[in-house]
């Protein structure tokens, strides 16, 4: 087993990985950029190394600096988390060249699966259904034009190294193609350090359903069922649930087996996710392999009871997978809502800044994977994810109710967040019915606007705070228990009675 792991990430996922390492008795090395000096993830590390200036390109995307930090601290492995360098084969290769284990598939596999185009071509050979589109990336606009004409508009432009919707654009006609290509390339470059893009047919009314897979270095492979991730804004998931309300057992088993086939065809190891689109006729298409631990992995952990990050590390260290497919069961229901620093009522504009007050929920079936604390300044340089609220309950109906009630008790003041917005989605009739696709947010824009039902009470609270806040606070500080005796003291001398 590894002795020391460098965690090449920040925020909640760096903390999640650090916790798994500690349970495996592995030392943790954290990295940080200039602006992240006070970030929460560093509190979970045994050693920390500064790796560069605040922009991601100088720090969390800086391969040389990260490898140097790992060597300096004598790490035997690097865990990349998600985003940043998680699916970058140059990074995996650099680790291999320096004798450091990359917690993920090897660079050859990564090259294949992280490259959406190459992986499409590979799985097609073993009979996995794929969406029609380009067979290679290009910078030549005429090739895009031709491919778009072949498959028919609307088409989707995608970043080959992409994930999380960055660099993705839907194009409805040839006129918009050039502009969309340019934007996609720019976003792909700034998000992934690689501007390769390609085009495929756009599937209308799709549901996004993915399967979690684990595979060891000896060819043992299991899937841990699906996650439904159709609630997305700007192609980025914000709510995920499992089991999916769209699948029946027959389809679930069939897609799980296809997912394993994809993983085996790519000789993939550790934890991975096979993404599918399910169209309105319940026909499914392979989309891509996410060669990393996913943001939404906790919902699978909640229903299967298996710690995916632990399994990922064990497999990377060369251990054999001991869990058999028939041992995996879906127990109950889980929903994840992603808490972002953004303003959903103003086109999801990011909202970095200081968290003035924070109160995170707790209770039965409630898990908060958080990367924030009160008085911390959320920096503008990175993805706006603050934390993830993961709810488990014995069935979907109860899980929805518990999620709604828990969101009401998640308080972040000072910056804009999407908490109220998430609550409005969870409450909406079509979500409750399980009847939704990836266009849910666009189609429900009006209905998801804040109703401001409690504005009058906000105004009352504001006025009370202004008129009473300061004077009452002053009184409290002065007199708390200092003049009077407490009831315990009034009782007098007392002894503990045993037996």
């Amino acid at each position: 087993m590894f002795k020391k792991v460098l965690i090449a990430n920040r925020g909640e996922i760096a903390i999640r990985v650090a916790k798994a390492c500690k349970e495996l008795e592995i030392s943790t090395v954290g990295i940080y950029s200039t602006i992240d000096k006070k970030s929460l993830h560093l509190r979970f590390m045994d050693e920390i190394v500064w790796i560069g200036d605040s922009p991601a390109i100088s720090s969390y995307l800086n391969i040389d600096a990260i490898i140097k930090a790992a060597k300096q601290t004598k790490c035997d492995a690097i865990h990349p988390g998600y985003g940043f360098l998680a699916e970058n084969e140059l990074f995996a290769k650099a680790c291999e060249d320096d004798g450091i284990t990359f917690v993920g598939p090897n660079s050859n596999t990564l090259n294949l699966v992280a490259d959406k185009v190459a992986s499409r071509n590979t799985v097609k050979k073993v009979g996995v259904p794929i969406i029609p589109g380009m067979h290679m990336t290009s910078t030549d606009i005429s090739l895009f034009k031709k491919a778009a004409q072949d498959v028919g508009y609307p088409v989707m432009i995608k970043a080959s190294m992409g994930g999380g919707g960055k660099g993705m654009r839907v194009v409805h006609n040839e006129k918009d193609l050039g502009k969309s290509i340019a934007i996609s390339q720019r976003e792909a470059l700034s998000s992934f350090g690689d501007d390769s893009i390609y085009l495929e047919k756009y599937i209308e009314q799709p549901r996004h359903i993915e399967f979690q897979v684990l595979r060891d270095k000896y060819g043992n492979c299991i899937h841990l069922f699906e996650r439904e991730c159709s609630i997305q804004r700007r192609h980025q998931k914000i709510i995920e649930e499992t089991p999916s309300p769209a699948l029946n057992d027959k389809l679930r088993i069939e897609m799980g087996e296809v997912a394993k086939k994809v993983i085996e065809a790519s000789d993939y190891t550790t934890a991975g996710t096979v993404e599918f689109l399910l169209d309105k006729n319940k026909k499914f298409y392979f989309l891509e392999v996410n060669a990393r631990i996913q943001v939404e992995h906790p919902i699978t952990e909640m229903v299967t009871g298996i710690d995916l990050v632990r399994q990922q590390i064990l497999i990377a260290a060369g251990e054999k997978l001991t869990i058999k497919q028939d041992q995996i069961k879906q127990n109950g229901h889980a929903i994840e809502t992603r808490i972002y620093a953004e303003d959903p009522d103003n086109n999801f504009v990011p909202s970095p800044g200081k968290i003035l007050y924070l109160s995170e929920p707790q209770g039965p079936g409630i898990r908060v994977d958080s990367g924030i604390y009160q008085d911390w300044n959320v920096p503008p340089h990175y993805d706006p994810i603050l934390s993830k609220l993961i709810i488990w309950a014995e069935n979907r109906d109860l899980c929805i109710k518990r999620t709604k009630e828990t969101l009401k008790n998640y308080v972040i003041l000072g910056i804009k967040t999407n908490i109220g917005y998430l609550k409005r989605i969870i409450k909406s009739p079509s979500f409750c019915r399980g009847n939704y696709d990836t266009h849910f947010i666009d189609e429900h824009e009006e209905k998801l606007l804040p109703k401001q039902e409690k504005l009058d009470f906000a105004l009352i609270a504001g006025a009370l705070n202004k008129s009473l806040g300061i004077s009452i606070r002053r009184k409290e500080y002065g007199s708390q228990y200092s003049q009077k005796t407490t009831p315990w003291q009034e009782i007098g001398k007392w002894e503990v009675c045993g037996q």
Binding site: P55, K166, I183, R186, E187, S190, S191, R234, A341, E342, N346, F348, V349, P350, S351, P352, L356, Y357, S359, P380, H381, Y382, D383, P384, L407, K408, N409, Y410, V411, I412, L413, G414, K416, T417, I419, G420, K423, P450, Q452, K454, L455, D456, F457, A458, L459, I460, A461, G462, A463, L464, N465, K466, S467, L468, G469, I472, R473, E476
Partner: protein, 163 residues
């Protein structure tokens, strides 16, 4: 006592009066509330209204009061001088574009002296990996550009001014 708060570009007037053990509130000279059992702690305000009990999280920062009620957030701004504020606010809107957030100035596709149409992109700002195109508020001529491509900009920093 009277307070005026701005919320979503609207000014709300709140009158409160203490009567015996409760408060009488009148909001916007219309809606009346009887509020009792008031407790104000540093980050929590609780009270009863119409036999319902309310717990409202709160943080007060200079003129701004941040509130959370049942998962919905409200930011109230204490109104000081309504007349000058709305005037200068309007002027700002029509004659320039400013960044809605701190971030990186990615591109300024116009130059001083350019004629621009309403809705035309005057600047692209990136924060948290999201690019925002800032559209021109009206037809006009570019008077001044503050900031260079590749530079950091602050929230509400005016980037392009129109004549």
């Amino acid at each position: 006592m009277e307070y005026k708060f701005n919320f979503f570009e609207k000014t709300h007037k709140i009158n409160l009066e203490k009567v015996d053990d409760h408060y009488k509130f009148i909001i916007n000279e219309k809606q009346k509330y009887k509020i009792s059992d008031v407790e104000v702690e540093s980050n929590l305000i609780s009270f009863k209204s119409n036999n319902k009990f309310y717990n409202i999280y709160c943080f007060s920062d200079k003129d701004k009061t941040y509130l959370s009620i049942n998962g919905e957030n409200y930011t109230l701004e204490l109104e000081k001088d309504i007349s000058t504020k709305s005037k200068s606010g309007k002027q700002q809107k029509g004659n320039s574009v400013s960044s809605p957030m701190p971030g990186l100035l990615v591109k300024v596709p116009v130059s001083v002296g350019d004629e621009v149409k309403s809705g035309e992109t005057l600047a692209i700002v990136e924060a948290m990996k999201m690019q925002n195109e800032l559209p021109s508020p009206r037809d006009g001529i570019v008077k001044k550009i503050n900031g260079k491509e590749g530079e950091q900009v602050d929230a509400l920093q005016v980037i392009v001014e129109l004549e």
